[in-house]
């Protein structure tokens, strides 16, 4: 309590105190529950931020007066965050300006050079609950920004010319006897205005068309470039030579609508990074022991032979040799092994494991970049181009040749029957065969679908992933953390009954330990709240818990612990292979029984898995875990074609490669670094996570773990999206048929063309948007 206000924890209270001192309490008015729980503070060694190598990735500009720095702050999630962070100058004097980019979750800070250290800046941000994520921040890309700017400029110019040229064409439609000089003015201006539209706004289409022809491929840009050239050349000929108006309005409209398709396609999820460098999983620094001093060292600077100190809960930054008697690690994220692993002095420990027991010392064996699993995780490894040839690009050769065929056919027909119409018919067909609506179908459906899917918790990297989802034939699913809920277990007791006093004492004992097994047991026993007092308690690393009061002594732990205290475990229990983890219970040195802890599967996945089978896809389980629970699993989840256990990260990737060599495309669904290679190798890799903003391995899509039960619906939606795209193609074909019907007869006039072109484009936009929404509503319910 502070100021008569209740707080849930010390963290929130200290944030309030800081805000109150600076009169920033409006923070709390802006939203219902701003801020986040500042839970167990990880030992952040901010001093590593004062290292110039680390700084150069963060500092955007620096001179003697001002320094501009950019932080990535994943915690930014509401308007209160924006409000507070932009008022950073109020809290810290040297800061002159702070600006948030909400969608990117980035914070730009300008401060007076030399008046504050980056480490204090980061520490202050952390103290108000906005810890910057320094590794992820490095992946910001500034070329994105300039690409977007260029596109917007092109769109603006095209829109400007489109509007004006349409206005100038109006008189010609109504044939209002303008007189020659005004007519020339209008036509001349139209032609003049078309030049920047064609050569600046439309230039990318020509470049792409030429490049693709060189590669002997015909992508969508080819018929587009063809159409634009035909339009322009014939219009100039018509205006200059024949005294007509040309088709400049249609041309400008074409360019404008095509560019809107591009703008829509450009949208990416900047707030999520799909290209995860494994280094963002690790802390920025660790304590190095040198001459008896503990120095916070950036992990990049660790050399083989260095001695490091790892605290409880911290990650091993690189492959090293353990130099402490006994330590226990959680490697589930890295290898998929769900049980805690015991290691002894001299054992080799891989980077990425989390220390569960007290502090441990280790000697570095490889640098961070050369750890055994690094090559699997490293995004710098040449990534094969995964994109499939898009549906648009697949039909464009057919479209192009058909149009050319019809154009030549009409030309030849008229050459025979009425030569004066031949050229006109030929070029008309080329002009009207608008690839515009065709080219717009895919980006608009993709964009609508990406948005709709993201509302359901599936964030895909690009529209091409939707296409690839419809191409897969088999699905590989990881177990630990993907199908199972991480850090939760199903607790079952076997043995002689324990009275409620004992159970209450066990509940108290397990509450004091952070070991995942303790936490699960505590959760199961939290209803036993009888008044008991523990006179003593001790956690023995790697073995278990000892505690009790004056009359009762309780032991909770592994077989090692029982051995240590000389307690006999009944042989039938010792010899029986038990599924899951086992925690033995002893009261007053008499064996009582054991707790069996098994993984809990996410609710609803069975419906999803069986539906995936119903789609005709093959389903495989691929896990780094041991197969102790295989029978139990087969019984409860019979949907899998094959169960593959004990797969190391490299083996997971190889398994997928093997299936791919038969020509079958597969999808991988996984959550941890142990899935990283498989996620990259598969045709579609989906990373599952309980925290979208946290770390996930590189993937093609990120799925909110709670939505895994709906995954089959999302797959169905992807298939329906394909139908919608082709329906939209059909719609645009119809327009083309009508247009070509006029054109081949030599009846095409600028008016008809100017009506058909925008009409087809707008109807495609409307159709795709509405039908996507309707389909999503129907599919997702």
């Amino acid at each position: 309590m502070h100021n008569d206000l209740p707080f849930c924890c010390e963290g929130c209270k200290s944030v309030y105190q800081l805000l109150n001192e600076n009169d920033l309490c409006t923070y709390y008015d802006l939203n219902n529950q701003p801020g986040t729980n500042v839970t167990e503070q990880e030992r952040i060694h901010f001093s590593a931020l004062d290292d110039p190598d680390v700084q150069k990735d963060l500092i955007e500009y620096q001179d003697e007066k001002i320094t501009n720095v950019r932080f990535y702050v994943p915690n930014i999630h509401c308007s209160s965050c924006v409000w507070l962070l932009e008022r950073l100058p109020v809290i810290l004097d040297p800061v002159t300006e702070a600006r948030v980019d909400f969608l990117n979750r980035s914070l730009h800070i300008a401060y007076k050079t030399g008046e504050i250290e980056l480490s204090s800046l980061a520490a202050t941000l952390s103290s108000i609950g906005y810890l910057p994520d320094l590794e992820l921040g490095k992946q910001f890309n500034s070329t994105e920004k300039s690409k977007n700017r260029r596109l917007y400029t092109q769109l603006g110019v095209a829109g400007f010319t489109f509007g004006n040229v349409m206005l100038f064409s109006l008189p010609a439609y109504f044939d209002s006897g303008l007189g020659d000089s005004l007519h020339s003015l209008f036509v001349g201006l139209s032609m003049l205005l078309t030049l920047p539209a064609l050569f600046y706004s439309g230039s990318d289409y020509f470049k792409a068309a030429i490049a693709s022809i060189r590669q002997r491929r015909i992508i969508m840009d080819v018929p587009i470039a063809l159409g634009m050239s035909a339009l322009f050349l014939y219009s100039v000929f018509d205006a200059v030579h024949l005294g007509g108006t040309g088709y400049f309005d249609s041309l400008n409209g074409l360019i404008f609508f095509l560019l809107t398709g591009k703008v829509v396609q450009q949208k990416t999820y900047d707030r999520l990074s799909f290209e995860r460098d494994f280094k963002s999983y690790f802390p920025i620094s660790i304590l190095k022991l040198s001459d008896g001093d503990e120095i916070a060292t950036p992990i990049q600077k660790l050399e083989p032979g260095d001695r490091i100190l790892i605290h409880k809960g911290e990650l091993i930054p690189c492959d090293c040799k353990l130099d402490t008697n006994l330590a226990q690690f959680d490697f589930s994220f890295v290898t998929g092994e769900s049980r805690a692993i015991d290691k002894q002095r001299g054992d080799h420990i891989y980077a990425g494991g989390r220390l569960l027991t007290g502090s441990a010392e280790a000697i570095v064996e490889t640098t961070v970049d050369h750890s055994y699993l690094t090559q699997l995780w490293n995004k710098d490894e040449a990534e094969k181009e995964k994109d499939s040839v898009s549906w648009s690009d697949r039909i464009s050769p057919y479209f192009t040749f058909t149009v050319l065929f019809i154009a030549f056919a009409s030309g030849i027909y008229w050459w025979i029957f009425d030569p004066s119409k031949a050229i006109f018919a030929f070029t008309s067909v080329l002009i009207i065969a608008c690839p515009c609506a065709l080219a717009m179908s895919l980006p608009f459906v993709n964009n609508a679908m990406l948005n709709l899917m993201s509302q359901e918790g599936l964030f895909l990297k690009s529209g091409n992933v939707i296409q690839r989802l419809t191409e897969i034939k088999s699905v590989f699913v990881d177990k630990t953390g993907t199908l199972t809920l991480p850090s939760q277990a199903d607790v079952e007791y076997h043995g002689s009954e324990l009275n409620s006093i004992i159970l209450a004492m066990i509940a108290k004992m397990t509450q004091k330990s952070i070991h995942p097994l303790s936490r699960s047991i505590h959760r199961a026993l939290s209803s036993f709240t009888e008044q008991t007092s523990l006179s003593h308690f001790d956690e023995l690393d790697g073995m278990g818990l000892v505690g009790g009061d004056d009359s009762t002594e309780i032991l909770l732990g592994s077989a090692h612990l029982m051995e240590q205290f000389g307690v006999e475990i009944p042989s039938k229990v010792k010899n029986q292979p038990i599924d899951g983890s086992v925690v033995f219970v002893t009261v007053n040195n008499v064996y009582q029984g054991y707790y069996q802890l098994r993984p809990v599967y996410r609710p609803g996945i069975d419906a999803a898995l069986s539906a995936i089978k119903d789609f005709g896809l093959k389903l495989f389980l691929i896990s780094g875990d041991h197969n102790a629970s295989e029978e139990h699993f087969k019984q409860h989840h019979p949907w899998f074609d094959k169960l593959l256990y004990g797969k190391h990260p490299h083996q997971k990737m190889d398994q997928i490669k093997q299936v791919q060599s038969t020509g079958e495309k597969s999808m991988m669904i996984g959550d941890g670094l142990n899935d990283a290679g498989a996620l990259k190798q598969a045709h579609v890799g989906i990373a599952v996570t309980d925290d979208i903003l946290g770390f996930t391995p590189a993937s093609d899509g990120i799925l909110n773990a709670g939505q895994l039960s709906k995954f089959h619906k999302l797959l169905l939606l992807a298939r329906r999206a394909k139908l919608l795209v082709f329906a939209s193609y059909t719609l645009s074909f119809l327009y083309n048929v009508v247009g070509i019907w006029f054109a081949a007869q030599g009846l095409l006039s600028p008016v008809i063309s100017a009506i058909l072109m925008p009409l087809s484009s707008i109807s495609v936009i409307v159709f795709t948007t509405l039908s996507s929404r309707a389909t999503a509503k129907h599919t997702l319910g």
């Binding site: 009169d23 409006t26 802006l30 308007s79 924006v82 409000w83 932009e86 109020v90 948030v100 980019d101 909400f102 969608l103 990117n104 920004k145 977007n148 700017r149 917007y152 400029t153 603006g156 110019v157 400007f160 004006n164 007189g179 005004l182 003015l185 201006l189």
Partner: protein
């Protein structure tokens, strides 16, 4: 009808000025972040209160 020449000329110039303004706006980064300004404009400005309180604190 000769007045039309002048009118068209003027209207084109005006339109070009607006196109120029649009391009300037893009280049000065106004379109880089189109989302956060929508949040920012809903904040109340308690500027006078903030700065006067700070002054009081320093005294």
């Amino acid at each position: 009808m000769e007045i039309l020449y002048m009118l068209i000329g003027f209207s084109l110039v005006v339109a070009l000025v607006f196109l120029g303004a649009f391009i300037w706006a893009i280049r000065s980064g106004q379109y880089d972040d189109s989302y956060t300004p929508s949040m920012r404009m809903l904040f109340d400005s308690k500027k006078s209160k903030d700065s006067s309180n700070k002054n009081n604190k320093h005294n």
